[in-house]
Amino acid sequence: MTNITRRHFGIMAGASLSALGLPILSAPSLAQGKPRVVVIGGGPGGATAARYIAKESNGAIDVTLIEPLKTFTTCFFSNLYVGGFRDYKSLTHNYDKVRKGGVKVVHSMAASIDRDKKQVVLAGGGRVPYDRLLVAPGIDIKFDSVPGYSEKAAEVMPHAWKPGAQTQLLVKKLNALKDGDQIVMIAPPNPYRCPPGPYERVSMFAHVLKKKGFKKSRIVILDPKPAFSKQGVFTEGWEKHYPGMIEWQDPKIHGGIKGVDAKTGEVKTDFTNYKPALVNVIPAQMAGKIARDAGLANQSGFCPIDAASMKSTVDPNIFVVGDASIAGEMPKSAFSANSQAKVAAMVIRAELTKSRAFPARYSNTCWSLIAPDDNIKVGASYEPVDGAIKASNSFVSQRNESADLRKQNYKESVDWYQGITTDIFG
């Protein structure tokens, strides 16, 4: 796929989508009016796809976005809110420009998908018919993956891994800590949303404690994984900025996470019982309920897709993008979701309006803030190779980089946030 040129895909587009390895579906009859695309989920994947389909089809496709919330608070950059670098409002976006871009935005919960009738059933009972459906529900938390943890327990021990009230609760608890108080984070197993996210969050915890002048507080990370994203540069940064404050334990050290007790506030491992002032439990994750209920997920809890199109391998009329999908070597991130959404939007337009189709190409970069002006990044380009999305040209920040470079990374991340949120929400 790497060396396919314009001439190649010009021929491919002129011939058929089958050259891209996509099943050919009959276009909806023009007698039925405009082809209809319905998008479930107004986050980085869904809102991007809805906007691009509406914009690029110039009104030839009827696009409906179903999202229960009237404003969307981004999970990405929420760690900067935890660290006091951003206010909550700056992470919150509305759908006014999505609407102005020609998308019908329906603020309702999508209750189920009737795949036989090609309709989305709304919580109120209404039905929205589609010719193509794009599903971008993000993740659901597997509460029972940590013994003793539950939705109720999350009110005491927040996960804060979905944007909104949970993030605000975490910040409230963080800001109430006194010097000497302990924080314990239970990190998630793979695969999960935002691989460097837990470790950036711990960095932000430490930054807040340091800024308050706390000398005695400690942070313990109980990790079910033997290694984590950008580990070398994170640990270097922790030693530099927060010496002795952060302790990361892999399974060999903690011996196994036995569970939590929200009533007593305890966290138990095979070797130690902790009773910290703040517990941040980030459990295992799975695709959003509507995708699982519709049978789009496999036994992993996530949704298999065709690498060249983001089309569900279960239903050729449905596409799944973002954290709910199994996107090969791409991490679950807003950047990935935005990138995948553009590929899906292009393929959907090609199927419905006979517009040109191009080979899929994806990209991702994840920036993480360790301390003020000390930002690290990891990223790669991606494309379909032998039926799976594979990484190429990957890069990651290195130890001993200059302060200037790390500061430049931070500025770049702030500009990226402005860019991607404009791309998603208008």
């Binding site: 790497t2 060396n3 040129t5 314009r6 010009g10 691009y52 950047f335 935005n338 990138s339 553009k342 292009m346 040109r356 191009f358 190409r361 990209s363 970069t365 990044k377 990223g379 790669a380 380009s381 494309e383 190429s392 040209n393 990957s394 890069f395 980089e401 200059s402 200037d404 470079l405 430049q408 990374n409 500025k411 770049e412 702030v414 500009d415 990226w416 402005q418 860019g419 991607i420 949120t421 404009t422 791309d423």
Partner: protein, 112 residues
């Protein structure tokens, strides 16, 4: 690797410092650049460059001259300009893709 993709003057200066003579300073966009393909490829650029302001670390690339656009992307592809994000993106762009992007961006307006 010291700086992210700088503004165009800085990029040109860096190019010269990097010995850009080997990197396509004489490059000219293909006469038959496929603007539609360029527009498609630009979706990858917009994620970061779509909301750039004059003081952004990530520069505004809308309206850049074709020759300059080609020159800078080829320099990133050759890793003569330092940002790894841009290097990763540029490495998989062939001359045809770069020409298509340049042809599109020379007249493209920043999204509003």
């Amino acid at each position: 690797m010291r700086r992210a993709m700088p503004a165009r003057r800085s990029a040109t200066r860096l190019l010269a410092m990097a010995g850009g003579m080997a990197l396509g300073l004489l490059a000219s966009p293909a006469r038959t650049a496929d603007v539609e393909y360029g527009k498609h490829l630009s979706a990858e650029c917009i994620t970061c460059h779509g909301a750039s302001k004059s003081d952004s670390t990530i520069p505004d690339i809308h309206g850049l001259g074709e020759a300059h656009f080609v020159e800078v992307l080829r320099a990133y592809r050759a890793k003569a300009l330092p940002n790894p994000v841009m290097q990763s993106i540029a490495v998989r762009l062939g001359d045809e893709e770069i020409s298509a992007l340049a042809a599109y961006y020379t007249t493209a307006k920043r999204p509003k």
